[in-house]
Every structure is written in C-alpha cells, then in structure tokens.
Symmetry: D2
Subunit: 166 residues, 4 copies
C-alpha cells in the first residue's frame, strides 16, 4: 500500500516509480535515541504539541546517521548535500507529557538513487508504551535544491547493517 502512495509522488520533478520502490524496500535495524520532553514542547492541553514529534523524528534521523558512521552536518558542509523532506507522517497513539523519557527508534525503510525513506517509533521508556509512529520521505539535493544522486559512500554507510529485502 505504501507503494501506491509513493508511486504517485512527484518530488521536485523526480517521479518515484512504485516498481522501483519495491526493489528498493529495505529493512535496516532500528537505532535508538533518548529524548526527554521539554516544557517548551507541551501545549495548554497538557500534552506535547503535535508538530514536535517531527522534531523528534529529525533527532532520530541525525542519530541514525551518526550511528551509521557519518554526521549529517558534514554531509551538508563537506559535500554540499542536503536531505530535503518531501513528505512526513505521524500517527499519535498516546500523549507524551512534560518530563517523560522517550525512546525514538529510527530505521531506513526505503532507498533509491535520490530518495531516502525513514520509519520511526516513539516509546515511553518507563512503560515501553508505543506513543507514536511515522515516516518521512526525503530527496537528496544540492545547496540550490536540485535533486542529486546519493554518493556511494553514504549509501554504503546507511545500508551498513541493513538487509535488502527484494
């Protein structure tokens, strides 16, 4: 079903075919990143404001890269490559509250020449309760937003411990 979705996705003029998608579906191991809920992240409902989950996804992504051998910061600075977001989704299952200790689990679920797809799960550390899950779709671009092919070195690092499923 994911395939149908991304099959229809045009990203900055790059058509992401559903067939190709299947071939590229992967299932990397999860990396885990701890986050503590900040007061600033709550809203007057007494729970975390919904947009902040996307910030946690980004922290998970940054840490996924780091645990796979490179800093996303260097990818930007040294190679002039950017991981632009083309799509983001989050399903909220239970509220997160101030001072909660959370675990953001991140994995790579799709990869093409110019596209990366990450999956996320957020758990409460104390109870192991799944409170949210989501995906983000990314396109590799240069500084000016033009699509670029992900260099092999990053490809290999990202796939490091992954198993290609097709």
């Amino acid at each position: 079903m994911e395939i149908e979705i991304y099959g229809r996705l045009f990203v900055s003029g790059v058509f992401i075919s559903s067939n190709h998608m299947i071939e590229e579906t992967i299932a990397s191991n999860w990396t885990s990143t701890e986050v503590r809920v900040r007061y600033a992240e709550t809203d007057q409902m007494g729970v975390v404001y919904y947009a902040n989950y996307l910030v946690w996804f980004e922290i998970g992504r940054t840490d996924f890269c780091l645990q796979h051998g490179f800093a996303y910061r260097d990818m930007e600075q040294e190679d002039g490559l950017y991981i632009m977001v083309a799509e983001a989704r989050c399903r909220y299952k239970a509220p997160a509250r101030y001072d909660d200790e959370l675990v953001v689990r991140t994995r790579l679920t799709g990869m093409q020449r110019r596209v990366l797809i990450f999956g996320y799960e957020i758990y409460k550390q104390r109870t192991d309760e799944l409170i949210a899950e989501g995906e983000t779709v990314h396109v590799i671009t240069d500084r000016d937003g033009r699509p670029r092919t992900l260099p092999d070195k990053y490809r290999e690092l990202l796939l490091g411990k992954s198993e290609i499923r097709n």
Copy 2:
C-alpha cells in the same frame, strides 16, 4: 485509498471503520488564512523547517472554526471538549522562505461522531504556487482524553456551508 488507511486506524480504542468513513466523506468549502513566514520558522537550509507546516495547519484549523461561527478556544473552555490529533501528514512541494506571504486553505474532508478530518493546501500568495498539502485526523475528547461525541451545535456549524457527498 484513504479509506484503507483510516480503516486500520485505532484511536484511543475507537475503531474507525472504512465503511462508515465513506458515508461521512464531505467536501466543505475552503477557508483561507494568511500567514507570513517568521525568521524563527526557518532553518539553516534557508527554508522553513518542516515541522512548522503543522503549526500553519493548526492556524488554518482555528480560522476554519472561527469562519464557521465558533472559537475553538470556547469549545475547550465552555464545553470541555478537545480536538486531539490522531494523525498528521504533509507533502512538501516547494520550499517556503523567510517573509513569504502564504495562504493556508483549510476544509473539512471527513466527519464522524467522534472524528474530524481536515485537508490543507498552502500557497505562495504572490505566485499562487502550491507549496504543500496535508491532512490531519482528529478525535473529539474530554479533558481527560476520553473520546466524546461532537455535540450537534458544532456539527452543524462545521457543516454549515458543506455539501455531504454520499
């Protein structure tokens, strides 16, 4: 296709059946809300950080309610009802930049006893370029997060100028 997605969605113990979904699909008119991009909303890529689009969706929702005859603020304060987010999605088509004048278009695309679905489109005012679109799924709850039926008065106000499609 949307149906399959929400058909599988459990929200705080409320199963949202895909059949019911179809019957409730509506197509309200769009409301329009102007937003000017804040410096705070940009990131080092020189464009708006992706989580902030969800903040704009919320501004669109607030204004949609206002333009349909009630303040969401009063719904919380006077009726103790909350519009919790169960799912959010955004597709990013072109970057928004500092000081851009945007229009957030919002409409109601689905309604059930306890569920509301909103759709959004964000345009650059000057060029009429569509830069993002998205959806959010909500569950009506009380102060303690328990699902509640949306009272008729809100139902009627929200549907005000809408045409039910089924």
Copy 3:
C-alpha cells in the same frame, strides 16, 4: 542605568562604550504589529511559553524595518548584512493566552555605527493591557559574523521619523 549595562558589553570583540551610547540614544516612533496567539505557543501552564515573546519581538523588528522602507530579507540577500542579536531581555507582566489578539509595539532606542537597540511593548488588543516589555541589542555583521558598519541608507531609513535626543 542602561548605560552601565551596555558599557560593559563586549560583542564579538566590539566594545560598546557607555559614552558613545549616550550620544546615540534616540527615541523613534513606535510601529505596531498585530499577532494572534497560536496554540503551538502555549504550554501546559495554559499560557504562552516565555521564549515565544522573543519570536514576537522579531516579528515587531521585521515590521519596523518594513514600515521604515526596507525588507530585512533584502538587507541579508542584497547587501549580505545581518542583524545579529547580542542581548535580549523580556519582563513578563501578565500572561498571554491562546487566541489572544496582541499588538507588538517596536521602536529604535539606540544606534551606533555597528549597533542597534530596539525596545518593545506587547499589549492585549481588547483591553489595552501591557503584558510584556523588552529590549534587544544587535550588532551588524557580514555573512561570516564579522562586525560591519551599518550603511547610510539603512541608517537614514531607520531614523526616518526619529528624533535624536542628545
């Protein structure tokens, strides 16, 4: 008293002498900018989170520039000049709440070759209640953060309707 404070301020190696300060104290007219409180800006105390007032100050600054004949955006893009923040202060007098309509009043209170000082007052529109006031001190820099002299054209625009007090 302000003098003593800024007299001790070192900003990126630029000493801001208290004497100079006195000579440069000005009192521009206030510009007014409307802001509506976003749900995202509240916290679990039910009021606006304190850091967001600094975002509103920035909105006031941007609008002050606009109302004085230039877009800060162009200053960055066309002249490569940045208004870096060296100091910020806010005194909170009454809470702002979700959906409140506020007025941010902004004026220029100090100017040197490389330094700008802005003052702010935030009012509730409906009641005219002063809910916060603050100041920000800025240094003009180039893209690499090196202090630069504010070009005459901006100086004149900023001072436009101001009265120099010394």
Copy 4:
C-alpha cells in the same frame, strides 16, 4: 510583593529595592546539563535562533531541580505550585551551531519567600567556550497565577548545597 524582588528593576510600576536583594543573594553550586543542538533550533543565518537559548535555560532549571532532589513536574502536579517567569535575559557571546554539544550550567542566585532567581552559562563542550549567559526571575504562584510562598521543603532542597552570602 514584587517590590522586594529586584534591586534596580521596576516591575508593574513598583520599585524593587536593592537592599533587600543583597540579603537574599545566594550562590549555589552550578549544575551541568548537556544539550545537543537540533536542526529545528537553527535559522537561516546558519546559527541557533535566539529564542531557543531560553528553552535551554528551562532545561537547565528542570535539571537543577532534579539534581536538588525534586521534579518540577511533581511540584506542579502534587502541590499545584508553578514557577512563573517574571523576567528573562540572555547575552549572546558566540553562535551555537547545528549538532554542537553544549553544557548548560545553572545555579540559584537569589531566593525570597515568593521569588527565585536563576543564573545560566552555556558552554561549547569541545572548546569550553562560553557562548551565552543569562538570568531568569520567577515568582511562585498557584494554578490561578496568584503569588504563593515557596514551601520550606522546596526551599531547603533548592538551598541544599548553597552558601548564603549575606
């Protein structure tokens, strides 16, 4: 009551005498809290947006309480007491950048029956460079914003390892 708070500061038109201030000045030990700069916290200048330092101060405060034996969360939930912000200040000395590892040092610098003053220093972990310093002044209130006396148990915990200077 505000009067006793700040030496030279006028709050809500009330002059706050400096004498009382001296008697209450304390110098607690610093607590240290690590923070890693998030992409979301940067702006298009390529550095951290200035309001986010106040979020880090809040993280430092939360951790200061925790390291002194209580969770601020419980103070709100169990005792219905809130630490409202009355004033905040930050001096920016060097920019913080994406992925920087920072240390927020926090200490209590003033305490009265209903008032707490915290001081902060933010360092880059790798270079030990001081990049910002600031203060926040707080008033203890109940749920409705009415000033309350800080209970002895919190007073003692906060002062735990502190030396009263007068």
